[in-house]
């Protein structure tokens, strides 16, 4: 039984439901390996991909997941710079609602935007990233990739490295991984790691060498160039020196370390090319798992209930 109408946040999302999404995603991954990569699960469903922020990768991943499930999809892109205060977001939402669609996949630069959307529309909502809040589908695909690699998530040592303060990927990963029983350590410049964050059940360590030594897998966050402009990071070379997952650091380790990155990468800043392209990196596997995870999420949210009768 999967009893959720929306997927907005992984905070307080039950462990068994996360596990069900991951398990279902593995089933869909098999579909993606077939010559005919399409199932009729969401035939007749209409999904709008509402992107207020550019994200070619996430949008394509969702779109592909929707096509593989035989849903009808519409893409709506709007740059927020053209949005006037308030009216456009609400008007856009209500316009979309008026077209009788089943679900909205939304990417928005404002934290909490899906909660506002929920007030304006009745359709189901999947959060494809809301500002610096959450990116739950990314965390699901990250956890799926970890489980695929290790056969489990529980008791693994997972590090998240980078700008935690501004990262929606970090927040969703923290909630998901802690729920699934992993040990989580955050590593980044202290001015980009909120001081209260250990209350979420994670450790904080500013020493990347110690963290790399400790971890089974590291999830490396993209450093946004604009953070340097406002003086939070002095320079990319200093960042690389203090927090970069470099070839030298990796070669000092004797056991394998699994390397993850949500993309797109700044090679030579948060990750060296030799590391990104190494055997230990599962970055491209994450991309495929992204499609499978999103198929699973869409299927469980939109399709599974009506098919329950057949399966039981």
């Amino acid at each position: 039984m999967f009893d959720h109408r929306h997927l907005i946040s992984l905070e307080k999302f039950p462990k068994k439901d996360i596990q069900q999404i991951i398990d279902t995603a593995f089933n869909f991954k098999e579909v993606l390996e077939r010559p005919i990569k399409k199932v009729p699960s969401l035939q007749g469903k209409t999904i709008v991909n509402l992107f207020f922020e550019n994200s070619t990768r996430t949008r394509i991943s969702f779109e592909l997941a929707q096509k593989r499930l035989s849903a009808d999809t519409v893409n709506f892109s709007a740059s927020t710079s053209s949005l006037k205060k308030g009216e456009s977001f609400k008007d856009t939402a209500q316009n979309i609602e008026a077209m009788k669609i089943d679900a909205v996949v939304m990417r928005h630069p404002s934290p909490g935007a899906p909660y506002q959307l929920k007030k304006f529309i009745n359709a189901q909502i999947i959060n494809a990233g809301d500002g610096t809040h959450e990116h739950p589908t990314q965390a699901i695909l990250d956890m799926m990739s970890i489980q695929e690699k290790f056969g489990k998530i529980k008791d693994l040592n997972i590090a998240i490295i980078g700008d935690i303060y501004h990262s929606r990927v970090a927040r969703s990963n923290i909630y998901g991984l802690v729920t699934m029983g992993a040990n989580v350590t955050l590593c980044g410049p202290p001015n980009l790691v909120p001081k209260e964050i250990s209350e979420l059940g994670v450790n904080v360590n500013y020493n990347i060498d110690e963290v790399i030594e400790w971890a089974d897998a590291v999830n490396i966050l993209r450093i946004q160039r604009e953070r340097m402009g406002i003086g939070l990071i002095p320079s990319s070379r200093e960042y690389r020196r203090l927090f970069g997952v470099t070839y030298e650091r990796m070669s000092r380790r004797d056991k394998e370390l699994v390397i993850m990155h949500p993309g797109p990468m700044n090679r030579g800043v948060e990750i060296d090319s030799e590391v990104a392209d190494s055997e230990q990196a599962i970055i491209l596997e994450q991309v495929l798992n992204g499609v499978a995870s999103r198929m699973s999420i869409l299927y469980l949210l939109l399709g599974a209930k009506e098919e329950d009768g057949d399966e039981n």
Binding site: S110, G112, Y115, D130
Partner: protein
């Protein structure tokens, strides 16, 4: 159920209310006879059957409430509030006297604009006192014509909404204001430390991914203002205190310099930042709603007399201003109509403050800060009174709001203590 406002014609007998006089700290059950809006007699009054009367058995009669911090948006933003709708909202909340903040469009920074407010509110059923801006255009650099504004009826000076960042400007304004014996009210927030903070900085902002406005953005500015007040010997009123640290600094300063007063809002007393979990933009306010530690400090600050009064910071915004994402939504919330029910619930029901003490926070204390007449329960005085039901538990209903704007975080909240009648400037309002 909408509020009714009627002219008081001739005689009106208020029968057997419990009269609480917060000035003389007395409690008696007596009758009050009003004639043409004035108090004619307070005592045991035998009257014929033909007289107009209100059975006030079980109701408390006290001074009409006074709010020294409201935003009525006139001139400039009649879509949010007008003087008329603001006054109706005040009456519904038991307020007979309010001070309006000058951050309108244009800002109230000249004697002509002070006169505009005075003239426009003469016929309103509530006493409205304009606060003039400290600096011209509220730009924070040159002090405004305080003397001429005082002559026209300004009662205090504030750039509220726009904290005075420049310490020298604040010092000069405080020094200059000493001629007039009125308070300077500085919205205390350091712009740099506040940065683009959207809510209180803490575990909740960390979870929500909303940028945090830390306690220190307020407290460091409160500290500066307190020190400048002491240095200059001027009168400083600290508005909407929100943090534990500010309470501490005010407490310390009050031990050595006593021209300091401070207010707290009902929303900072009632809520903590946990209320923001579903990103309800009605909770977006400056300074932000803080964590439980600061909330306790505010309550304790009231009990200890460090905080002098309650002020609502009534700040109307249209649904258009609020029905958007949290980062774009306007700051502020309406507070006049829910004030008594909120304050009574938190301070009296939950925190055991005496009703007399609570009433002072809404009546004699703010009047004293602003230099208004405090001795209201006297024969011959204009009736400026409120009658409320102390016990009444009620739910704050959006449809009952008299303000033009409905941006209240208290909608659907359970409150305690309800205003039944407000008597002001010859009218009686009935909820």
């Amino acid at each position: 159920m909408a509020m009714k406002i009627e002219q008081i014609e001739g005689r009106l007998l208020l029968k057997k209310p419990k009269i609480i006089d917060p000035l003389n700290e007395t409690e008696t059950i007596k009758d009050v006879m009003l004639v043409d809006g004035k108090i004619e007699e307070i005592g045991i009054i035998e009257a014929g059957n033909d007289i107009n009367f209100i059975d006030c058995d079980g109701l408390i009669l006290t001074h009409g409430f006074c709010d020294l911090h409201v935003h009525f948006r006139d001139p400039g933003n009649g879509d949010k509030e007008t003087m008329e709708s603001g006054c109706e909202s005040a009456l519904a909340g038991g307020f007979t006297r309010v001070c309006t903040m000058p951050n309108t469009e244009p800002p109230i920074d000249s004697p002509e604009l002070i006169s505009y407010i005075i003239e426009n509110t003469k016929k309103m059923p509530v006493h409205v006192h304009p606060i003039g801006s400290v600096t011209k255009g509220q730009a924070g650099s040159e002090i405004s014509e305080m003397g001429l504004m005082i002559d026209s009826g300004a009662v205090a000076f504030s750039d509220d909404g726009l904290p005075i960042q420049n310490g020298l400007v604040m010092r000069k304004a405080l020094e200059y204001s000493k001629m007039f014996n009125v308070p300077i009210i500085n919205h205390a927030e350091d712009d740099c430390l506040r940065a683009n903070g959207l809510m209180n900085e803490g575990i909740v902002s960390t979870k929500l991914g909303l940028s945090g406005n830390p306690n220190i953005a307020e407290s460091i500015m409160v500290f500066r203002d307190l020190k400048l007040a002491e240095l200059t010997g001027a009168q400083l009123h600290v508005p909407h205190v929100s943090t534990a640290e500010s309470v501490q600094y005010i407490s310390d300063m009050k031990n050595q310099y006593n021209e300091i007063t401070a207010e707290v809002t009902p929303h900072h007393l009632f809520y903590t930042d946990e209320a923001l979990y579903d990103y309800d933009t009605n909770f977006k306010v400056a300074p932000p709603i803080r964590d439980i530690r600061s909330r306790w400090a505010l309550i304790q600050g009231i009990k200890d007399g460090i905080i002098d009064c309650i002020a609502t910071d009534h700040a109307p915004h249209t649904s258009h201003d609020k029905d958007t994402t949290f980062d774009l939504a306007s700051c502020g919330l309406i507070g006049l109509e829910s004030c008594l029910g909120v304050v009574k619930k938190v301070l009296v029901d939950d925190e055991d403050l005496g009703l007399m003490e609570m009433i002072k926070l809404l009546t004699v204390s703010p009047r004293k800060i602003m230099g208004f007449d405090n001795d209201l329960l006297k024969e011959g005085k204009e009736a400026e009174l409120v009658l409320f039901n102390e016990e009444k538990k009620w739910v704050f209903n959006k449809n009952d709001i008299n303000s033009k704007s409905k941006n209240s975080p208290f909608i659907d909240a359970q409150l305690s203590g309800k205003v039944i009648h407000t008597i002001s400037k010859g009218v009686i309002a009935t909820n």
